[in-house]
Symmetry: C2
Subunit: 464 residues, 2 copies
């Protein structure tokens, strides 16, 4: 909604005011801004901010936004920059507002199983802080260097959504700064509220376009038991996918159910030099269980063994030792690096109803053949989130890749899914949004954006 | 935000058009509108709609809204009218849009553990429909005759929030009609999505002020085991409340943790003629457990017994038989009817962080004495939601009651809580909203309202 808008440039006077608000120490200009021009998307659009500011307090954020709003200067909020959709790229220059210095643990409340963090706290620090109090934050979006603010802004998901859901399900409240500079508090240390519109939820996943999140209050749980793994081969992906509801119907709720196919396993073997630790089959489910103890593990494994064998699995592999478990997980962790070494042309994270994963990948195969571009796929069988990597020669025409992706997104949507399960729309997927949303819905989102940010200074050019 | 607005009245021409859209059969006028002038709030403001329409399809809802929007006719959506905050009262006349005839089960999807219902499906029908497929909807907001549309519009909570959360946590997607008549779909049969602003979540709890919800897709689970009860006495409410995190920290997650005090138990005995089935103590926790079998029940009971005795409980009562269990639950179910027989002056459902319940009730005691109005309290110790009933002579000055409530709400807010945990704001609590929200936050909500409903026809006079 911003392409036709001309933003103001930073004048020396405005820059001086910003330096006064934020202190010279927290302000970068010139070449120092280079690494704030992109995120970790495979082919990021580089776009230099005119200035990078690293605020150290909510009040500082408020004063920066008030000034930016007055002068119509674009502000692109940013956590650790680990996003994969170009969400943190300052498309229109202006201010890159990097929250990494706001990294204090505000409170860990043991009685209410909740904790409040500044937005710049990275997940690994969050987890160790709550762990010290005997509590646990169960989400694992895969990048422990990401910030809780960034996780919240993109509604990060990850491998444990089948049991625990996504960031949205664990955020109880926020402190955020509106474009006007007003500081708002939303939600609180409670799960129940029917008091006005849920501003917490509308801010989660809004990718910095509605407000700057400065603090996040999350729900905590008690630590789960040990994590155990089953690696279950199938003769087809279809059989693997059809086994998933059979497991869940027996009242077993694994923390993770991933699917993977022979093609990617072979590619990982070839590229990483690591040996796939089990016999090769056309498809696999990787199940991770949380067990209170050995007894529960044995009961669950025996039940799962029966269910999987009854539903077509020729075998069930249980890594017998900690080192075998680690070997398998390390092999799994090679997927993304392998893709990176394969000339990844783009990156999609479509979500479909979990029963439709095999149908979706059948369609993807046809689309891939039609466009002559290989697409590697793996992902979360428990929640329908499929990671897709078109791979090919670096010189592949980007227009061909876009056409391929357009058809892949349309296929997912036609099966009841949507464009992004966890990475967000950012700038990279914005062109595909009209495939999923009617013009009325996009117009409604534009109106919501204007309700929060009338001058459209916050992360312009993103999402809608 | 509507007090200064003059709505149009229904002209005979508009009424004729509405009858053409909705069919005469689905339109009530005159005296037939009487029971649509209120909900179940203790002292509802009666306000007659000019017409009641019972649409039978989403398209019909769309055509009605389009016409109403053109002519600036207020529309008050309504489910079963079981709300407790006056949310369904057509304050400005116009159309009462009652969704009770839209009561079809659209789909129960066993593979994806989800189901889609028209908004007018009542909870008891929803539960039996999913039960027939071996699935389960675990929320229990207490009124099985309420509709799923109404539950969604108010983000209904109930007794099982400590384990399962609230309606918000079980709704995956919606079909809704905007004020303009545009039909939108939000979410889908998946838990993971980072695709644009979460319109599902902003509509949940918006009490019919942003759109008319016509279909709701919910998440389902497998049926839990049997439900067992422990009734644990304490020598003070403070000790009872302090025991709650001790239970949760031991990795026991009861489906329900209620607290109740001697005063209300005695009152129920006196008014209902039912005998309290256990020895009287100053305070109690009622714990409900879901157990996979007898073994788990014995393990949990023994663990809970230890935890409670270690934390000050003089005893732990376990109703030994189904009939003893039923007697206890029936006694608990007398709370609200008892309040109704006590000249309930109003009704509040404040939520505070659960560790602050005892502090909150200490403050309520002081406020109650100051104003000379008794306040009975009980509620959900697991989630901090406290039901408060000021009781007294019917002729009590309503201004005194308002002053009392204002101080009660302020006390809850000062402890980190908010006004309504589950009943919603409706019209009855609207005057108290500025106690919880800053002017900037209320203004933001107004702007969101206008983004959805520029002519302010949807449930005007409610929430903000």
């Amino acid at each position: 909604m911003t392409e036709d808008r001309v933003f103001s440039k930073l004048t020396p006077t405005i820059l001086a005011s910003l330096k006064e608000i934020a202190d010279d120490l927290n302000v970068l200009t010139g070449d120092d801004c280079e690494s704030y021009s992109r995120d970790e998307a495979p082919h990021p659009r580089h776009s230099l901010p005119e200035v990078v500011i690293k605020p150290t307090s909510t009040l500082m954020v408020s004063r920066i936004l008030r000034l930016a709003d007055q002068h119509h200067i674009p502000v692109t909020p940013r956590g650790a920059g680990t996003g994969l959709s170009g969400g943190a790229v300052p498309l229109y220059g202006g201010i890159s507002l990097c929250l990494e210095k706001m990294n204090r643990v505000i409170e860990i409340d043991e009685a209410n199983f909740s904790a409040t963090f500044e937005a710049g706290v990275v997940l690994k620090d969050l987890c160790s802080a709550v762990g010290e109090k005997g509590l646990y934050y169960p989400l694992y979006p895969g990048e422990m260097n990401a910030t809780i603010g960034g996780n919240t802004a993109t509604n990060a998901g990850g491998m444990r959504a089948v049991k625990y859901g996504v960031t949205r399900n664990f955020v109880l409240g926020l402190e955020a700064v509106l474009a006007s500079g007003e500081i708002i508090q939303t939600g609180g240390k409670f799960v129940k509220s029917s008091t006005g519109y849920d501003l917490t939820q509308i801010l989660i996943g809004s990718e910095g376009t509605l407000a700057v999140i400065t603090q996040v209050t999350v729900k905590l749980i008690t630590p789960p038991g040990s994590r155990e793994i089953l690696f279950v081969p199938f003769n087809s992906l279809d059989e693997a996918i059809r086994c998933v509801p059979m497991i869940l119907k027996e009242n077993i709720l694994p923390v993770t159910i991933e699917f993977m196919c022979e093609d990617i396993l072979k590619l990982v073997q070839e590229k990483s030099g690591k040996e796939m630790p089990f016999k090769m089959y056309p498809a696999y489910l990787l199940l991770m269980l949380e067990c209170a103890g050995e007894d529960e593990f044995l009961t669950l494994t025996s039940k799962l063994n029966d269910i999987c064998l009854r539903n077509g699995a020729p075998d069930v592999f249980v890594p017998g030792s900690e080192s075998a478990k680690r070997r398998l997980l390390e092999f799994r962790e090679q997927f993304y690096p392998t893709m990176q070494h394969c000339h990844m042309l783009d990156l999609a994270d479509v979500v479909v109803p979990r029963s439709r994963i095999a149908d979706f990948l059948d369609k993807v195969k046809v689309i891939s053949l039609k466009h002559g571009i290989d697409v590697m796929a793996y992902g979360h069988a428990g929640d329908g989130n499929v990671h897709l990597h078109p791979v090919g020669a670096p010189e592949t025409d980007p227009v061909r890749v876009q056409l391929l992706l357009k058809e892949i997104y349309s296929a997912g949507i036609s099966l009841g899914g949507t464009i992004s399960g966890e990475h967000g729309i950012g700038v990279d997927k914005k062109q595909y949004l009209p495939l999923a949303f009617t013009p009325a819905k996009i117009e409604l989102m534009r109106q919501i954006k204007l309700a929060f940010d009338p001058h459209n200074i916050l992360n312009p050019g993103k999402v809608i």
